[in-house]
Symmetry: C2
């Protein structure tokens, strides 16, 4: 029935994908400027009528989901870029740069952060196989271990239930070729991610003295807490000034 798609015959799909991208872009602009995404407003922005959007998203909820995925992809890119701003042989600096970038983005784009990271409905973001935020951080942590070889807990030293989970974790990370003895690294990853996510979320939603957010006291303390388990105590002075420089931008 279906013939192999030639280069010319893909026009149909191409234009469809193109306007889909324009729709998502307009929706994101509206989310930032007006604080909400409305089908009619998005359509108006593109010179269309609202029902036309149903050719590209099955519902308003799906449009929002597409926006969320777009945002997650973007922030993943920004984080990667920040990490790449540090030397390739300095995984600690790369990881910290990524974390600082993530925080800065979250504080500068509270609506978008809220949509992607504290949303009860839209959680399908995790299912995406694309390089999302989680995947970036896990890769950076693996890089870090390659260089510093900080101690990893043995699965036998952990609770049996936890060890079972870590043998086949549902986590956005590439674990192919990671042997059993190293699966404790996933536990360290989860704990570090929980610190970063938790601190940033607390700052974004301001459930703390606002000046502590402005001066990043809590965030820096959180990062420094990670130094010990990640084998970075010797590097702490250097990393401290790095964090300050990155935050000052």
């Amino acid at each position: 029935m279906t013939t192999a798609p030639t280069s010319a015959s893909s026009t149909r799909a191409q234009t469809h994908a193109a306007t889909t991208a324009r729709i998502v872009a307009a929706a994101r602009t509206l989310l930032v400027n007006r604080g909400e995404v409305t089908l009619r407003a998005v359509a108006r922005e593109l010179g269309m009528t609202a029902p036309a959007l149903y050719r590209y998203a099955a519902s308003h909820e799906e449009l929002v989901r597409m926006v969320a995925i777009s945002i997650d992809t973007d922030v993943a890119e920004r984080i990667t870029g920040a990490a790449d701003g540090q030397p390739a042989d300095d995984p600690a600096g790369r990881l910290i740069a990524a974390a600082v970038e993530f925080r800065q983005w979250a504080l500068d784009n509270r609506e978008e952060f809220s949509l992607v990271f504290t949303n009860v409905d839209v959680d399908c973001v995790d299912e995406v196989s694309s390089p999302g935020t989680g995947m970036i951080f896990s890769a950076l942590l693996f890089e870090l271990w390659e260089k510093y070889r900080f101690p990893i807990p043995a699965l036998t030293d952990l609770e049996p239930g936890l060890a079972t989970i870590l043998r086949d974790p549902q986590v956005p990370a590439d674990l192919t070729g990671v042997p059993e003895e190293m699966r404790g690294l996933v536990w360290i990853l989860e704990r570090a991610w929980s610190r970063l996510y938790g601190t940033v979320t607390l700052e974004v939603f301001r459930h703390i003295d606002p000046r502590i957010v402005d001066e990043a006291h809590l965030f820096r303390a959180m990062i420094e807490d990670q130094a010990a388990p990640l084998g970075l105590v010797d590097e702490l002075p250097r990393l401290r000034t790095l964090i300050r420089d990155l935050l000052a931008r």
Copy 2:
């Protein structure tokens, strides 16, 4: 002009407050069951029409804010009750019981948690002078210090900017009579609160392997992390089993 209010003359205000309470209750029911609060639905629930609600809330946003305050008050009560379920001379047990109750409530009522604790708009909750969630935890931490006298960082050992903040912190806590030498306790409070808030938020929004949430691995690890700075290392075995018992309920 205004005469002293007699017991009979307060009827007007009483009925007003009563229906206000019914409105908020209906709104909360709708939030839990339908996942959203609509003026018309609330009115329908009470056999009224939507515009009538404007006698009790100036706008839909204010109604939601009232709901949020109601929820916050409720969870504060639940937390207090959980703490009071432990012996008065065991502040460590009381604090842990409160933390476990907070987590359990958050996981069981994700919509309500989201409304109160991860909401960009409704943040006036903190301004409330009533005994909200934050106040409870700060009181419990102060209790804890009374008994264990764990070390408090001196303000002079902290960054000057941070010390300035801690001298007059914007935090839901009663600091009357807390001398300068003890203001480092507020820093410990903020750090502990950030751990609890961050972990629970991560669990609620499931940005982690769901089995880790189900078996509370991350939450228990977070609590145990607090043992050292709060001077509870000797009590850890006892507290560990306490946490398990509390979670098993």
